[in-house]
Symmetry: C3
């Protein structure tokens, strides 16, 4: 498929989605929300893809929602648009393939929410992050949900209440970003990470991601029971047997392809 506002590439089992509204700072309007969700669904359904990267064209990753596009006629008009943003976070949490955000420039409001929703994030040294909606009389209620899972209460509230942009190093210390890289190494480093994941057993990665997000919402004892149940299931798969056998035979594993 081709999309209006995102580009799609596939390379070595990695699906790369590029936010492509650079002239609008990759702000989310209804087409971009729809396209990103559809692109994620497409890659989740593509058996040849093991890992997904989200990057952006232009000066910034995403400046948030496109408020020039903001409907002003009552709550019913906002709902479909806002529902797309909600769906984005849920899609990433529910899809079984790992999603890596590659961030440069600015990731603000829903742009920062997308980074928080991703499983992993790589950022350039100059990248900045903020939950900026407060400055236009709004509030990043939706982006706060994945953000609060990455950083603690004080950091999440600071981003929400001040609307300030923080730099990549602070985002890394807070737990929003996994790795900070030089400006010109963003895709090189992100693809190296994506290739590392793509070399793992896709079954293990996918059951593992499902297990993580499911247990993260459970109390300790239930989480342990559930996780161990999933682990027993994982142990019965061919890739588990092959992985262990390869390790014991000191040879690289050959994963069963889907």
């Amino acid at each position: 498929m081709t999309y209006e506002t995102v580009l799609m590439e596939r390379t070595e089992h990695i699906g790369i989605i590029t936010l492509n509204r650079p002239e609008k700072l990759n702000t989310f309007n209804i087409p971009l929300g729809r396209d990103l969700n559809a692109a994620l669904d497409e890659l989740e359904g593509d058996q040849d893809i093991y890992v997904v990267v989200i990057r952006a064209n232009g000066r910034v990753f995403s400046a948030g929602i496109d408020i020039s596009d903001f409907p002003k006629k009552g709550i019913l008009e906002y709902r479909p648009w806002i529902a797309l943003m909600e769906k984005m976070t849920l899609t990433i949490a529910k899809m079984r393939k790992p999603v890596i955000a590659a961030v440069h420039g600015v990731a603000a409001a829903n742009g920062a929410g997308l980074v928080a929703a991703a499983d992993l994030a790589v950022a350039t040294e100059g990248a900045r992050f903020g939950l900026t909606a407060i400055d236009v009389g709004l509030f990043c209620m939706g982006p706060a949900v994945p953000m609060d899972r990455c950083v603690g209460k004080k950091h999440c509230l600071e981003l929400l209440l001040t609307g300030d942009l923080i730099d990549a190093r602070r985002a890394e210390r807070m737990g929003l970003v996994n790795k900070v890289v030089p400006e010109d190494k963003l895709m090189e480093e992100t693809l190296a990470l994506a290739k590392k994941l793509a070399a793992k057993s896709p079954y293990a990665l996918q059951m593992g991601k499902e297990s993580y997000y499911t247990m993260a919402d459970m109390p300790l004892e239930k989480a342990l029971q559930y996780s161990n149940e999933m682990f027993c299931e994982l142990c019965t798969l061919k890739d588990a047997e092959e992985g262990v056998r390869a390790f014991l035979e000191k040879r690289p594993p050959k994963w069963r392809l889907e």
Copy 2:
């Protein structure tokens, strides 16, 4: 109103509560617990106040509970006093106006719990923090609740089990403190932060804070649904319309006053 153990000031929509039992290291007895809760309630109900600061007079922020005042006649005697400490954390979480703690000297036991309960915290370079009750045969069970929302499990248990005081830089790295400032800049920096928040739409701040604390207790999918419902509601307010319009017209917004 005037209070026995706290001072109240109002400046530029900021309510400043000063713990004022310096001769007792601002330890919490029943009057201080009552006064602080009442002062918070008063500011929450004052339509001219948008942001609340809690600071302290004397050498320290608060050394915890006043154990010289500690009743010793059985569990029924402790209950009203302990209930005031519980109420303090809940009051801050349930009030819709942001609360900033400005900390110098020492914040120990319930003093550290108050810092953790606050939405944001600024501390001096020399400030120290600890959940110290273990050293008198007690345990900071109540303060642990907001603390665990700010820092991870290992850090929370370290504070609880050792009773050690940690310095401001470590508190910042852990996520208990948002900003560390020189000794003589505490109120200047705290007021600058409070003024920044007071310049936002009070409606957005207040619905936003309510949304944050409510979703923080929910599993992911429910949290997203709830947060987006709240966001739809926020979008219908005049301040949202004005904020967006002002942004598009490149002029400062004029928030509707309460």
Copy 3:
């Protein structure tokens, strides 16, 4: 009792469990899982022990599960073995005595899960940590549960998805380790920490630990109610009275022994 795969020592109210399969890098097989759980139960029941340390003999803390021992005959065979790993985390969370992990070399997979499950962790500068099961076609589903309580979402997923080992300094910044010490100071520093805890009121430590793990699974308001209920109960104990009295009389407390 004596065990096949762990050593037990007792010194100054501290119980020290040493993982002792050095020739197998202290990987967990059924005997080690059983022995560690039994040793923890034994120390929990020993009234003379106030604090527990888990350390390891040999080059590494634990390289995870012993996959050379891995049964390959279907899911029913895995269950008892996996159940032991699940029990380990739950045992530490449910036992009332604090558990400190002293880590050197490598703590991988269930070894890292054991570190995360511990209440506190001290590590050498050269220690490394990872959730490495992904590299053999498995996934650290069980270890992820305590890990997610120590570090944020992005860090937990990074460990899970990449299988990479991180160094002790990064583990400390993430919140997995409380203190990083020179190679030759591991037991000296760990025992100093254990002695500090052993000098506290055992009642306060034990009710406190129970309170922490119970409230950590509760929403805010319920957690506050529960914690304050527990605090009221703690206040009625002799050690609480003695601790407060000793503090007021400026003398060291004399805790009631069990």
